[in-house]
Symmetry: C2
Amino acid sequence: MASIEDVARATGVSTATVSRALRGLASVAEPTRVRVQKAAQSLGYVPSAAASSLASGRTKAVGLVTPHVSRWFFSVCIETIESVLRTEGYDVLLVILPPGDQLEPGPGAVTPPSRQTIETDLLRKRVDATIVLTLPLVRRELETLRGLGHAVVYVGDLVPGLPSFGIDDVAVGRRATEHLLRLGHRDIALVGSNGEDPDGWGPPRDRYRGYVQAMGAAGLDPLPPVRCDLTVAEGRRAARELLTGGPLPTGVVAVSDEIGIGLLHELRSAGVDVPGRVSVIGVDDHPHADLHGLTTIAQPVAEQAEAAARWLLALLQRVRVTGGRLPAGWDSQQERLPVHLVERRSTAVPASLVNP
Amino acid sequence: MASIEDVARATGVSTATVSRALRGLASVAEPTRVRVQKAAQSLGYVPSAAASSLASGRTKAVGLVTPHVSRWFFSVCIETIESVLRTEGYDVLLVILPPGDQLEPGPGAVTPPSRQTIETDLLRKRVDATIVLTLPLVRRELETLRGLGHAVVYVGDLVPGLPSFGIDDVAVGRRATEHLLRLGHRDIALVGSNGEDPDGWGPPRDRYRGYVQAMGAAGLDPLPPVRCDLTVAEGRRAARELLTGGPLPTGVVAVSDEIGIGLLHELRSAGVDVPGRVSVIGVDDHPHADLHGLTTIAQPVAEQAEAAARWLLALLQRVRVTGGRLPAGWDSQQERLPVHLVERRSTAVPASLVNP
DNA sequence: CTGTTAGCGCATTCAT
DNA sequence: ATGAATGCGCTAACAG
């Protein structure tokens, strides 16, 4: 395994020059650089990340913390972020942290890993920064992240105290509801939020708030939300709840497309005409939304992830030139990306207006 | 940022003892261990991964190379592998390597990253081992992986020269076809393979071979495969191709459920009754297969990933005790996990037999 | 533009 | 069971 000394010997320069040449620092004569690169190439030399980190204090790695990888939003974020960071030479350390539950004690001899130890032990000293994807955080976790001593960015929601890239979820809820209102619906329910429940969390809660706003502005009473996890299976369950729980609304806002798709299927298999009897609107513009003809509020997922990654890269750059200290106010960035309505075949004028 | 020396001073022992105590080595007196752990805890000491790697030669990290993260098979593998490795204290370095295409040159001053540099530079010295998920490998890449100098495991196909965990894809194609044959179909097509095309690749090619075998055993002539990428959108395209390209078969084997779902939708929106006019069978048992009533050959994805991860962990353990050298024959492991048929509503006896 | 000199923070001998 | 000494391979001053 060739080391930097081998390259230095082969080139007849010092290891310092090899290091500089290979990193592309300006202060190396062009011919020298070329010779060094050639030698490194032919020796198959690859710098040791460990040695480099130890000497420089930088790891050239970023932690990516996510509660899921198979759900659409998260997988898109992961792909986008990995690609942006990789381009700039950063490695991605993937950390999957299931929402809400403590990890099981492992068979290891050492202390079993908990959320706490993962947050600190793993991320501290191993990475130069951390990106967190829409993970419900309790206050203590937020403090832990801020105490990591390096930059942390949040994607998918706006969380106070952390630089965040997301969308305006209140506006999303409002616009989805308004679309149904404009079509003439007055009896509108929302599926997939805990409402103002103290356990309620970020996006679903904010979308419900938008729904409440829109209903209020139309002089209508908002219904309490139908609780439901953001999955197709849960959407189906919610549909059954809707079908058996009193009069069916004519319009339904699903806080995510996955819920919307579940709703669509279950309502139709129960013989309910969508959009004839019930209109359904989702949020996301999931790739399958088109397949199912689901009207939705599209959110730019890759764009959120890319904006966050690029912003982080720029911050890391500034940190480097300022000698490792995070600039004041680094954590005040809050960016909302625009959403837009995508009309498909799951929403229509309510039957009562078509055949009065 | 507390260092091992701080802990040593606080405890009144040497750094060597701190190191041993914190790693749970046997040769430390119980009371000493406790004192050290307490001190480390209260000082918030976290060992530096870089220093530890440099000193020990082990990184406690594993590279995970995948062509996709949003596709179901891959996301399940990623989640499973991360979880298994994390439990044993290994970090996961995620590397997304799009199949087939060279990466674009980045804006960096250094050589733009290519598949080649990623395979070597990134993985060599940064990780103790690498797991590769069903990525079409050309021979050179395979050699590169083997030349990495550390353990490499392949998941999702059986590749000669690399320890592999997968399923019997020929049998999968055979069983899917046999299911249709048993129902009475004779006019059966397969969608999603390049057949014996030299560019053809692993699982789809093997599943086509199984189809050919089953057709042959039934005394029928196999049709050339309908080419199609393994996505819903491509499945829809393939359906249109089927609809316009001569007589429609009565049975269709889709080499993946995503294709199958696309087929189902497009056929039905064209007014073709499934399974009345055409039966469709997929492969995977994708979570959405149930939603669509798609009959399929289920494969155990999490199990493949877990088997590979655990096998790797065991190998790494052996490597450690033998002083860092890979044991002879480490690369000869080839494991096939069982699949099974899941009958749903997309396959039935052909109409010709129902109304003779 | 290049060489010299020091560590970076640990794990590991080899002692005891 | 514990301590002292050594070096992993590189980068960062500091000279020149």
